[in-house]
Amino acid sequence: MSPNANSQYCPPSVGDDCAPARCRGRCALDVIDELLAAGGTISGEELDRLLDLRSQLRRAEDAEAVLKIFCELRIRMERKHYLAFFRIRRWLENHLVAAVRICPAAEPVFVPVELSHYCVEAIRRVCLCAALRNGPLLAPRLRFAFASAVISSPAEAEMVAR
């Protein structure tokens, strides 16, 4: 499900309507648009990557790519645009999940994605550690995904609830 740039609030997440309380009515796309409009404070390269992030968020298919671009931009731009990156970060935390399989054949366990680190591998490790609390990891596989694409039942939504 693609985020709707025209809606006041974020697209549905984890099976329920996305409540304003969770995303504050400030969809990540809106925040990126504000950054793009900031003009002089953004370099040409940052502008290109912001457009890439916007495009990936609109498609809402490749959460790995979203996180990679977000982390790259966060390192470069957060110091000057802290509030904007806080808003995008919180939006991503509310809309992404990590699907962890203890072995390739197992059913995935969904864990929340916490963006307290600045690189995707560190975030992946934190998610794996969170999943480890629920049992042994034999040959773990982790895939980041948009919650709206992989969470189908209230029980699963409850599982990733923070």
Partner: protein
């Protein structure tokens, strides 16, 4: 010649929409007060002293405000919302947990203040529609505080 004095404003009839709006701002303010208190207790780092002090000033102001808002609800013939669970459900503010980086406390409080502003603006306009100037005045006063606080918090985050 009439010996009675005309009231300064039209007497307010019980308006459930306005009472609901005021109660939402009450819940928002209470929830924000709790979050600001949490930030006051747990903030740490090089800017500890100014942030600790600023957060204290903010939650103290909010503590006085919730009383004023609740009493306004009673004055227009409604009942004030209460109870921590009820406030939390009504306000739907995203809670944060400690420890956080200093700037995240500030950013999270900005987001929470913005929520109060949205609801207070709506209630101010509803009060205007029914000519309840006292409630409108109270909401304007609340907005002045939240907008000033937003300016200060956002200034802190500026590079």
């Amino acid at each position: 010649m009439s010996t009675t004095t005309k009231p300064a404003s039209t007497p307010v009839k019980k308006d459930t929409r306005l009472i609901d709006g005021l109660n939402l701002v009450l819940a928002d303010s209470y929830a924000l007060m709790a979050l600001t208190h949490l930030a006051h207790w747990n903030v740490e780092g090089e800017d500890f002293f100014p942030l600790h002090k600023a957060f204290q000033e903010q939650y103290e102001e909010l503590f006085e405000a919730v009383d004023e808002i609740a009493e306004r609800v009673r004055a227009i013939d409604g009942y004030a919302m209460g109870g921590l669970g009820t406030f939390a459900r009504a306000a739907q503010m995203e809670e944060f947990k400690a420890p956080l980086p200093q700037k995240d406390y500030v950013a999270a409080l900005i987001v929470a203040h913005e929520k109060v502003v949205d609801d207070a603006v709506r209630t101010r306009d509803q009060a205007g529609e029914v000519s309840d100037l006292q409630t409108q005045d109270l909401m304007i006063k609340r907005l002045q505080f939240h907008e000033k606080t937003l300016w200060m918090l956002k200034s802190y985050l500026k590079h």
